[in-house]
Symmetry: C2
């Protein structure tokens, strides 16, 4: 494990092994621009690039303008071989035995302007997202939902054959920290004896613990991405909260899928952890019990990530309870399989498009279930915070925080930081 000449705390999610990319702004410079996270610091890549920071990486020289862009799209579009070289180069810059001490280590002026403590940084949505798709390949989640909502223990016949997914709303993807307005809409009156439609603020507001994956390279319209090339089309991973209005969903969902129940907001963590950084944490996906068609058959066995995932709910009074602890491994299909399936009919992707995994839940133990629908059995078993505070679904002023980290012990952690959102009261509709 390489060490840095910088003082990186041993439990930092942003070790030298990580080097995630994000978009920052600061009080002195409000223009959003690319950065990496290293320990508690952000390295401003606009400042770094403008001050000869990349002078020992000639292949990036023609493309330095990507570091003046307000999103990561232009950077990611350079392709995995270039973005991977940039990450490796930045690791070498921060290595305690850096071959280029003149660049940053021995350059206090550049250190003073390019390295900014993350507490002084505002994070922005890392990509412009023109299409967002949410999959549903968390097998345990799917089984839980079927059991809780329909009382049956088996899934639809297609479930193990293909990564089930639906198109989501790109416009409402927001970066961690953005407050989430409780949605209103049509629900069935829970007090009515016969089904009765009513207008209401959502009464069953939930989170869904997911991983999101940003696409680096697009495919041309009509040209499927071959399964064993699909990984190279991906840029990196974030924590994703697919906020869900369960009562709106129950009424609207059949036959065309979730709509207003999901499109009011989706939150993502701001630092995009690269596919390269996550590669050491690959493990085989869940047992499928059957083979897949050739267009989905990956050569590699280890294809999903063993990421420790946690969900905290914090009440307005400040009480916090961890309501879920699970792993990113509980998925039936990998991101490359999702991309291969999504494009098999010719659907085109653009740089920055976002893919959600579906809710990640462990088996059997409710403390591993990635939504309140599941771990409260549709609101029938409350989380007890203390004598005064209980939660089935989310209340106004609650804050939901996701954390994700790979690795064990100290040093070398590859983490995501947080994906957080606080619930605002619903809009008041005029009578």
């Amino acid at each position: 494990m390489a060490s840095s000449w910088m003082s990186i705390p041993p439990n930092s999610p942003f070790s030298l092994s990580n080097i995630p990319f994000g978009i920052i702004s600061t009080a002195p410079d409000s223009t959003p621009r690319p950065a990496i996270a290293i320990g508690p610091w952000a390295l401003d890549l606009h400042v770094f690039a403008s001050n000869k920071g990349f002078s020992h990486l000639p292949e990036i020289t023609p493309h330095l303008s990507v570091f003046s862009s307000p999103t990561l799209n232009a950077f990611a579009a350079l392709g995995r071989s270039t973005t991977s070289a940039v990450r490796t180069y930045l690791q070498s810059i921060f290595d305690e035995n850096t071959p280029y001490p003149d660049i940053l280590r021995g350059n206090p002026e550049l250190r003073a302007t390019a390295l900014i403590h993350q507490s002084h940084v505002t994070m922005h949505l890392p990509f412009t997202i023109t299409d967002y798709t949410d999959f549903y390949v968390g097998l345990n989640h799917a089984l839980n939902c079927t059991r809780i909502l329909r009382g049956i223990g088996s899934l639809q016949p297609n479930y193990r054959h293909l990564p089930v997914g639906y198109h989501g709303r790109a416009s409402s993807v927001v970066v961690s920290g953005t407050p989430i307005r409780r949605p209103s809409g049509q629900i069935l009156n829970p007090a009515a004896e016969t089904p009765e439609v009513m207008f209401s603020a959502c009464r069953k507001l939930d989170f869904e613990l997911e991983l999101g994956c940003f696409v680096a390279k697009g495919n041309a319209h009509g040209e499927p991405v071959p399964i064993n090339e699909a990984e190279s089309y991906l840029f990196g991973v974030v924590l994703l909260n697919d906020w869900s209005a369960r009562d709106i969903q129950a009424w609207e969902m059949v036959p065309l899928g979730p709509f207003n129940a999901k499109n009011f907001a989706t939150s993502v963590s701001p630092w995009v952890v690269t596919m390269e950084a996550l590669e050491p944490f690959l493990v085989p996906s869940m047992e499928r019990g059957r083979s897949v068609l050739k267009y989905l058959a990956e050569k590699r066995k280890a294809n999903v990530f063993d990421i420790n995932l946690e969900v905290d709910v914090t009440t307005p009074a400040g009480t916090t309870k961890t309501v879920c602890h699970t792993s990113g491994r509980h998925l039936l299909f990998s991101f490359p399989q999702m991309l291969a399936h999504h494009t098999v009919g010719g659907c085109p992707f653009n740089t920055g498009d976002l893919i959600g995994s579906g809710t990640i839940s462990g088996a059997d133990d409710p403390a591993t279930f990635g939504s309140l629908l599941e771990n409260t059995e549709n609101g029938t078993k409350a989380h007890v915070f203390n004598e005064e505070e209980r939660r089935t679904f989310l209340q106004d002023g609650d804050t939901v925080t996701f954390r994700g980290i790979c690795g064990e012990g100290e040093y070398g952690l590859v983490g995501f930081g947080e994906c957080q959102g606080k619930i605002l009261p619903a809009v008041e509709f005029k009578a």
Copy 2:
């Protein structure tokens, strides 16, 4: 009915009453730029604006750069009052009693450079689309699908309460004329006695006759669009073909809705007919049999458009048959209602976002049904073109053409032109 000093054929869809907007390029100038259609001509708004064409419309002067943009987004974002003023001004320029004869009528140099015959013009996608939603509010279509595919005569309980819709794929929306590659994917083997999944090129390729509506003005995240303001958020309407792979759809659709069955392509006609031009053709939507919740209650009664719609299928041998003739009035909800519903939970829209109506079918008579699924009873009753040529679903080399026109008789027609696509053979997958 105003006449023009230009010679506009009496049956032109682009009368002086219309003035639709689109994006053109030409052989001498391959840069896409805004234009209007007038009779058989396009008026190049980039050239027109650059040559003092708008000198009698001071309110557009600060915004002339919108006419150098490669899409209509910047123009539409100016808002309905400005874009409507531009359309009215252009009508006055072409009026036989134009108050500004110096601008174009008496300016042969500008006429020679700004007016281009449409046969010399390439049309482009009119907007950059960052989100596309397809609704399902064609009541007759929904009833037909339920009857044909499930053998039942009633709809889901939510159907009359809200405009049912699902998020579609923005990246695969293409302009009329773009060839459509037959998709491949997972289907159930129709020859197998017990359900058996197989990989195949789509064998049930279909069209769906819809109207599309482009959004002019966005709403902020968390702020619903009030129903009686919703119309002012819309820019205009196009013909929309929601190409559909029925066999892929049948296998994938439950429980989260159509996905690869729809996301391979959606075609739109290139000239966007403004809400202003369509206003004379408003008629009341279909009978709902119940009231709607207040957030969907429009003050106006006439809210959908009586547009004559036709679908032709042309075989590779060149035989053409009109397989559908219906009206845009067969919708249960209006575009303002769709927008109000879509945003009621706070989902944000951006300029250029696209809303599809859902398939438009008349009642009872198969010749009025807007898809082959419906008018061939799921492939059991073929369209007979002649002794050699029959069609249930689309074959490679077939061309589907939608036409739409409002008004009767001659002069003053408000039409859409065509929305056309030719089927290319499926991609060959390597063994």
